[in-house]
């Protein structure tokens, strides 16, 4: 899917949305659409495209592990995969080394 989007739109970049009406989803934009800022953290790459999250947002989320998946049904947002009739989905897991105390 990422390869298909790259062929159609050129180099890509992912940004993790914080929630609200478009959901807690990864947004897939063209690389030039929105340059990453000094405050964005690059979590890694998927399909060769960088994946960013706002640094403060990442801290508040507890710096979880992200897994990105694809599901049926078009993304309703500005995210490019919507044009292919699918939407990217974020699944998160708490970091393996848990520094927070378990709830009593």
């Amino acid at each position: 899917m990422i390869e298909r989007l790259r062929v159609a739109h050129g180099p890509l970049a992912f940004f993790q949305s914080g929630g609200c009406c478009d959901g807690t989803v990864p947004m897939c934009f063209g690389e030039g659409d929105m340059p990453p800022s000094a405050h964005d953290v690059k979590l890694g790459e998927i399909g060769g495209a960088p994946f960013y999250i706002d640094g403060e947002q990442d801290e508040r989320w507890g710096q979880p592990t992200f897994t990105i998946d694809v599901a049926d049904g078009p993304a309703e947002s500005f995210s490019l995969e919507g044009l292919e009739g699918v939407h990217f989905v974020t699944r998160t897991e708490a970091p393996l080394s848990c520094e927070t105390e378990p709830a009593a």
Partner: protein
């Protein structure tokens, strides 16, 4: 309140419904209904059953260009009209909406899933009033004169920007359209509006009602995928401003496009609004306590799909047990059902994707140690609603560092915590990325004032919540966006200042 048992409204297109339904709907461009250049249409679903009920245009970038052509053709004449003439058009819009209030309310409820009691009592009346407010604001606008010296004067005029682009969300399709369109037109601009993909249709029913009273090309609506036409509109060199309400990363993208084109932008983004209940709300078992209880339960208003949803309740530890007990009673009494039934208080979420996301957040909350106090599941619905996108009103108790306190869930899920004193309440309230709304509940006016001034949010409801009257400025601090809506000050966002610097001195300056 005594109510007669009214039966549910018939669905649009059904016998007895106030709403007519066609099979497919085009774009509204230049005062006409224009098919999309793509020739493609997309099924539009009602969240109460999950079933499609009509098709709406699935446009491409070329349709945005057509809309911009129409807007540019209309902008000079519209911009030259007197404020009184523009106000007359806005008032005519309001009158036409009022004459069709019930039909618009039913249409919006059916498409979005919000209860018809809310659209009848809040959404549509507020939208109508918004046009009337900006009709008045347009006529009350004035420029300023600066006297530089007795022969030199600066005359300041507010001039329209020309053509603007406006992108609106799904949660209040008609009200959000009114919030954007009214000030843009009042200030003398023409607009191209892109509705949200889950709710492309109820605004078209609005256009059917008001299309005749607006000069052709002044108001244009194009439906289609955000990734293509949202982009085509926001990054277009032919708009003088972009306005956006939606989520935060997309808001950044919009501002990035605006920066590339050197145009102004206003954005209204996400929130995680704290609702703070001090111990004195329980000082008496009176109407005010009842109001405070309702104030907490307002997290379920519009199924929690509100950027300013009071999704974090902060309750003073000394009253937590009795206050929460009263609130849970009230939550238990929430009637969930068909949004077209006037007795329904909680409708379905707008889409399956939203429903799945809400579910995953409840799981995240439980995994991080939050205590489930109420709800947490999809309810079993019957009577044809089995396929609807329903979620139970839910309450989770935890601490502010949990993800369910930090992230915007956008559903009927309340995260509850306690605090010991004013300082801690303030610290918790401000410990968030966002700054859109907040609620403060106390019988102590001085404390209310202190808290209100110290909370970093653009709208602090004090002894109330979810009021959105015109003439009360609304907008975000921090990551909740830039700009203020619902107030005359918005006209500044939609105009530019022309300074005529005039010299009546006949003599040269002496430079050359």
């Amino acid at each position: 309140m005594a109510t007669t048992e009214r039966t549910a409204y018939a669905a649009p297109g059904q016998p007895g419904s106030p709403v007519e339904l066609a099979e497919r709907y085009d774009n509204f461009i230049g005062g006409e209904w224009v098919p999309p250049t793509t020739g493609r249409y997309r099924a539009n679903v009602t969240p109460s059953t999950g079933a499609p009920f009509c098709e709406v245009a699935e446009s491409g970038a070329a349709d945005i260009e057509l809309a911009l052509d129409a807007a540019h053709a209309a902008k000079d004449a519209w911009g030259r009209r007197s404020p009184a003439e523009r106000a007359a058009v806005l008032n005519a819009i309001a009158d036409a909406m009022e004459a069709n209030l019930e039909a618009l309310a039913v249409a919006e409820s059916y498409e979005n899933g919000k209860p018809v009691r809310e659209t009848l009592a809040a959404d549509i009346p507020l939208a109508i009033d918004h046009f009337r407010y900006f009709a008045g604001a347009a006529r009350a606008e004035e420029g300023r004169i600066s006297e530089i010296d007795d022969q030199t004067y600066a005359y300041h005029f507010h001039e329209p920007l020309g053509v603007v682009g406006q992108i609106i969300p799904f949660n209040f399709p008609i009200l959000m359209a009114a919030w954007k369109i009214a000030p843009a037109l009042a200030a003398g601009n023409c607009t191209v509006v892109k509705p949200a993909s889950p709710t492309p249709w109820s605004i078209l029913k609005l256009l059917e009602v008001i299309g005749d009273v607006v000069p052709p090309g002044v108001l244009n609506v194009v439906n289609g995928p955000g990734a293509e036409i949202g982009r085509a509109l926001a990054s277009n060199k032919r708009i003088a401003k972009i306005a956006f309400t939606g989520e935060t990363v997309t808001g950044r993208l919009i501002m990035s496009y605006a920066a590339q084109n050197l145009i102004p932008s206003t954005t209204e983004l996400g929130g995680k609004s704290p609702n703070i209940f001090f111990e004195d709300v329980m000082a008496a078992d009176d109407a005010f306590l009842d109001k405070a209880i309702e104030g907490l339960v307002l997290y379920a208003f519009n199924k929690g799909e509100v950027c300013t949803a009071p999704s974090r309740a902060l309750i003073h530890e000394s009253i937590y047990e009795p206050f929460m007990a009263r609130c849970l009673e009230r939550i238990q009494a929430i009637r969930q059902g068909d949004p077209l039934d006037p007795m329904t208080m909680l409708g379905p979420q707008v889409s399956k994707a939203q429903l799945e996301k809400i579910e995953s957040y409840v799981e995240i909350g439980r995994n991080e140690g939050a205590e489930l106090l109420f709800g947490g599941e999809r309810p079993h619905m019957n009577g044809g609603l089995e396929g609807g996108f329903y979620f139970e009103p839910t309450v989770l108790k935890g601490t502010n560092d949990m993800r369910i306190f930090q992230e915007e869930i956008f559903g009927p899920v309340l995260s509850v915590t306690t605090f010991k004193d004013e300082a801690e309440a303030l610290e918790i309230a401000n410990d968030t990325l966002y700054g859109l709304g907040a609620g403060v509940w106390t019988r102590d006016g001085a404390r209310a004032f202190r808290m209100g001034r110290a909370i970093k949010a653009g709208r602090v409801w004090t002894n109330c919540y979810h009021h959105y009257p015109a003439h009360a400025a609304f907008g975000g601090y921090k990551q909740s966006g830039v700009g203020r809506e619902n107030h005359q000050m918005m006209l500044d966002h939609y105009t530019q200042t022309k300074c005529l610097l005039v010299s009546y001195d006949q003599n040269p300056m002496g430079f050359f």
